[in-house]
């Protein structure tokens, strides 16, 4: 069993994918509903495993929302957010980056953006080089605190992404 979490993630992704072609899906964004218990049973795992997959993979940062209801007729609904307007997309990114971002956080974010097709692998590389250089200068040439460096890093990252979105 090479990775249960990824298998479940892929399954849900495929569901959303097949929902994509549906009428109006591109406007309202795709969505799927499922039973936690059934999905868990079909993968032969404990139900809370589903929560783990949702919490770790279908996050707002990755462009998803999750709704649910308990009790009889309970359900879990996963929605893919469609950020059509460049401005929306930008606001979303600004929120995620924030005023300060660490190197590992930036690294993860860039990986996600690449997986979502928002940047190419070459663009990701360029951004990483720029962030590394900025961080290195801040550390060895100007002796800045880590927080200050993370602030500068966030500013540079946002500017670079803004430029791309508006391009």
């Amino acid at each position: 069993m090479p990775n249960l979490t990824r298998a479940i993630e892929k399954y849900i992704h495929d569901l959303l994918e097949s929902e994509e072609g549906t009428a109006g899906a591109s406007l309202r964004g795709a969505s799927v509903s499922l039973r936690r218990k059934e999905l868990a049973a079909s993968f032969g795992c404990v139900p809370s495993q589903i929560n783990y997959v949702l919490r770790s993979r279908f996050t707002p940062e990755r462009g998803f929302l999750v709704e649910s209801q308990r009790g009889g007729h309970g359900y879990i609904r996963i929605l893919r957010i469609a950020c059509e307007e460049p401005e929306e997309k930008m606001n979303h990114i600004e929120d995620i980056v924030g005023d300060s971002i660490s190197e590992p956080e930036a690294h993860r974010l860039l990986q996600v953006l690449q997986e979502r097709g928002m940047i190419t692998v070459r663009e990701r590389l360029l951004i990483e080089v720029a962030l590394r250089h900025s961080d290195e200068m801040g550390r060895s040439d100007f002796d800045l605190s880590q927080h200050k460096r993370n602030t500068i890093q966030a500013e540079m990252l946002k500017r670079m992404l803004r430029g791309l979105v508006l391009a």
Copy 2:
């Protein structure tokens, strides 16, 4: 065993090389996945040695990206974005950029690179945003001389191009 690092480096390079022939590799860039623990064991060294090799040899400045995941089913994936060889072309660029470059000079260089199809419009934009931010910080936050700023700019530009233009 003083050449452990180089041996591991070569091993990973060879893996990437053999991946090169694969379908679509030239488009998406070559990549290999491995287990840190296993690789270390096969070289009879401690696992953190692998991190040293990756940190010192497979950097974005050299055209590589590294992804990893901890925990069960953990892995390390190395992606090569830039091709090898074009040592000559790279030296040429290093010469042109030199130790110091003004913003208009950088601008012209990037335009030429774009016209020659070596970088895309978006990549050029990304580089220009990074250079501008660096320059702006140097001026207003650290009150650096223009020459110092041009030196920093040249360094950043070379690093970004090294990762990319080797193609």
